[in-house]
């Protein structure tokens, strides 16, 4: 079964109408972000992963990631992925989901015995502009809680490589708006896994856009008396870019299917989510470099829209665990399964496989 494209198509239309990269690249302020966010909220997209009975859309992870791929194809600069993931967590923990722009609470925090939040969270995408922050925090006894807090006034604000806002929240005994002990249905790293998959989908979308832009540019740009698309060297660059984009898209889709198939904690999808974040992150590096090479000097200007994609790819690959972080996770996971188990992990069927050996010792 191929997933329903309706949600992705709706997302694509909203971004095309209100956040077309060429248009917003020339905008003088961020008013367009308000507009596009309102449209996304009206369409229910930030609550895609919240069940219908909790006021959301109840979409599958595959459908939600397809929506994010569509958003990535327009160089999404609003916290759609963060809000979707945060809202999912709140609903999963049985908490009410506010209609607010959410960002995540990354590690660095603890809950004291009185249920108050202390510490400084690692810098998180969109945390400095979100209305609320959501995350999984441990108390002194090592019990994990899902918490939702108002964005604190004390924030260390910064920007990522694309200029999108991020922030590190500091808490000195803040009482969360709501909180719940982690149920058996939720894993301690579920939010990280889901956010990594969401970044993979955004990157896959951006890589698709790079293919389209780069192919289009190569077919217009004249040099040496013909369009540069006629040069074999350029064709091979574009073929490689298309291959990386295809790999990224498949890896992100597969992560979604694995998340949908995970019963209980999302950690069951670790293998495919980690593989996706690694492979898509690699594709982002290769793909961005090729797109710039094809575009030449014009692609290296503020005026041209290319940087909206490449700068985000360079940031997104680091968000919620870089290739290195997830490769180590994946490598340890595979090594722990051992030589008799690793093929079972890849194929999702743990029964041992036999192998011929090349040499009898």
């Amino acid at each position: 079964m191929v997933a329903d494209r309706l949600i992705a198509d709706t997302t694509a239309r909203i971004f095309a109408d209100l956040a077309e990269p060429r248009t917003v690249n020339a905008a003088h302020d961020d008013a367009w972000k308000v507009e596009v966010w309102r449209a996304l909220v009206d369409a229910g997209l930030p609550l895609l992963w919240v069940p219908e009975e909790a006021g959301g859309i109840g979409a599958s992870f595959v459908e939600g990631l397809a929506a994010l791929e569509a958003a990535g194809a327009k160089a999404c600069a609003v916290p759609l992925a963060e809000t979707m993931a945060g809202a999912w967590l709140l609903a999963r923990a049985g908490l009410n989901v506010p209609t607010k722009r959410l960002a995540l609470l990354l590690p660095g925090l603890r809950l004291n015995a009185a249920g108050r939040l202390w510490g400084q969270a690692a810098a998180a995408p969109f945390a400095s502009s979100a209305e609320c922050l959501v995350g999984i925090v441990e108390d002194a006894d090592g019990v994990a809680h899902v918490v939702l807090v108002e964005r604190p006034s004390q924030m260390e604000c910064s920007e990522d490589l694309a200029g999108d806002e991020r922030g590190s929240a500091r808490f000195d005994g803040t009482l969360p708006v709501v909180g719940a002990t982690l149920s058996r249905e939720v894993g301690r790293r579920d939010l990280l896994l889901l956010s990594a998959a969401a970044r993979a989908a955004l990157m896959a979308g951006a890589l698709d856009a790079l293919v389209e832009m780069s192919v289009g540019y190569a077919q217009e740009r004249q040099a040496f008396g013909r369009t540069i698309s006629k040069f074999q060297a350029v064709q091979h660059l574009l073929a490689r870019l298309a291959g990386e984009a295809a790999a990224a898209s498949v890896a992100a889709q597969a992560a979604g299917w694995a998340l949908d198939r995970a019963e209980g904690p999302l950690a069951y999808a670790l293998f495919d989510v980690a593989a996706a974040k690694v492979r898509v992150g690699e594709a982002a590096g290769v793909g961005a470099a090729i797109a710039h090479q094809v575009h030449g000097a014009i692609g290296f200007t503020a005026e041209h829209v290319l940087h909206r994609f490449t700068h985000r790819l360079w940031s997104w690959r680091d968000d919620y665990g870089s290739e290195t972080f997830w490769a180590e996770e994946l490598g340890r996971h595979v090594a722990a399964a051992g030589v008799d188990g690793f093929w079972g992990r890849l194929t999702g069927n743990p029964e041992p496989a036999s192998r011929s050996v090349g040499l009898e010792i």
Binding site: V215, R240, A251, W257, D272, A274, A327, F342, L346, R355
Partner: protein, 385 residues
């Protein structure tokens, strides 16, 4: 997704996945009976008629073909699973692999009813081996430069010329090859080639070995000297082989054999790294696995397209390009990660697998369409040519 290239992925459905356990049980039995045993020369025995027969008895050759020709009318996704498990196990597949992957589907599409009823059941029984006669001394990547000729003679054709790099021809019963039946036209230089089914035991055909640098014998030269083939051995439309070849490539280029030929290196790497590798090795291993898992998913996506009756030739080229690049890089990465690690016995196994992979690696991006040809096809899919 971008014009012309589309990878809609869906995982293998659970009812299809259940076949995986059957294949593993089958391989356990085959292993106990010595059918996965190593050969004297060190590499796995690649050609083993008994193994193919046993596989045939399970209904795992010609899986997707109609029952009337001995097939089993199962899906491309089921075929994917059987194939993938066999390849991972290092099972000897040469006796049936080419016939099952591409020659059979070609015959199904283009051969006469008599030929289909004669040959396809024999392939499905594991009794019939095919080879592919494309390349010639003056025609490799440039397939349409082929000059071997087919000349009408009574109710058949006379074939003359030399085919080279013809894998397994010395063990094969048949070859499907391309021969010139008319000159190329000014408008279309691909015009004028036809596909023929050639019985390699026919008079006027000799098969001579061309050895790898290792001394292994896979390649052959097939010399045709006025060899006669009956009229119905012309497959499909005369002079139009170029059009027919496209669908063949979708089968030839997208399967897991494009990245599992030297998988033993990865297996032995996991073995010597042990259950708690250091950080450097864990990261390197994780990156390898991420690449492999993505390739598996891409190959499944193409199998899904074949199951839906599509001809994803461009997507297949993408899988082969990425798959062979991954596999070609594998030995160098494994060599790096394994430096100074492992007990002597595990090391010996690793180094043996590594040696084979290093020696094989260069051919991966040449056989079945070079990287350069593949990127040209992908570029065409992108609308660039």
């Amino acid at each position: 997704m971008v014009q012309g290239i589309s990878f809609a992925y869906a995982p293998l459905p659970p009812e299809v996945e259940s076949l995986r356990s059957d294949v593993r049980r089958f391989l356990h039995e085959a292993s106990k009976d010595g059918l996965l045993a190593p050969s004297a020369e060190g590499g796995a025995v690649r050609f083993n008629r008994d193994f193919s027969r046993r596989l045939a008895a399970k209904g795992w050759i010609g899986m997707t073909w109609p029952r009337i020709y001995g097939g089993h009318e199962r899906s491309h996704l089921e075929r994917f699973i059987v194939n993938e498990e066999l390849l991972f196990a290092g099972a000897p597949l040469t006796a049936h692999f080419t016939a099952d992957r591409q020659s059979g589907p070609m015959l199904l599409k283009y051969a006469s009813e008599d030929i289909k009823r004669d040959i396809l059941p024999r392939i499905c029984a594991g009794e019939c081996t095919f080879s592919i006669g494309m390349s010639e001394p003056g025609s490799g990547s440039d397939l349409f430069a082929a000059s071997s000729k087919a000349v009408p003679d009574g109710n058949g054709w006379r074939l003359s010329g030399r085919k080279v790099w013809t894998s397994t021809a010395h063990l094969a019963d048949y070859m499907i090859g391309i021969f010139r039946t008319a000159p190329a036209t000014r408008e279309n230089r691909r015009h004028g080639l036809s596909q023929f089914l050639v019985d390699l035991s026919a008079e006027g055909i000799s098969v001579n070995p061309i050895r790898y640098p290792s001394g292994d014998h896979h390649f052959n030269e097939v010399v045709l000297d006025d060899a006669f083939v009956p009229g119905d051995h012309l497959l499909g439309e005369r002079d139009m082989a170029w059009r027919q070849a496209t669908s063949e490539l979708a089968y030839e280029r997208s399967g897991p054999e494009r990245f599992l030929e030297t998988i033993a290196v990865l297996v032995e790497l996991v073995r010597i790294l042990g259950e708690t590798p250091d950080r450097y090795a864990a990261i390197g291993l994780g990156r390898l696995i991420a690449g492999l898992q993505t390739l598996r998913h891409m190959s499944v996506a193409v199998a899904g397209m074949l199951a839906r009756g599509l001809e994803p030739a461009t997507e297949a080229s993408v899988v082969k390009d990425l798959g062979t690049a991954w596999e070609q890089a594998l030995p160098a990465i494994a060599r790096d990660l394994a430096e100074g690690v492992g007990e002597p016995e595990a090391r010996l196994r690793f180094e043996h697998a590594l040696a084979r992979a290093i020696l094989i690696a260069p051919k991966l991006t040449i056989q079945g369409g070079t990287t350069e040809i593949l990127r040209g096809i992908i570029a065409r899919g992108l609308g660039l040519r």
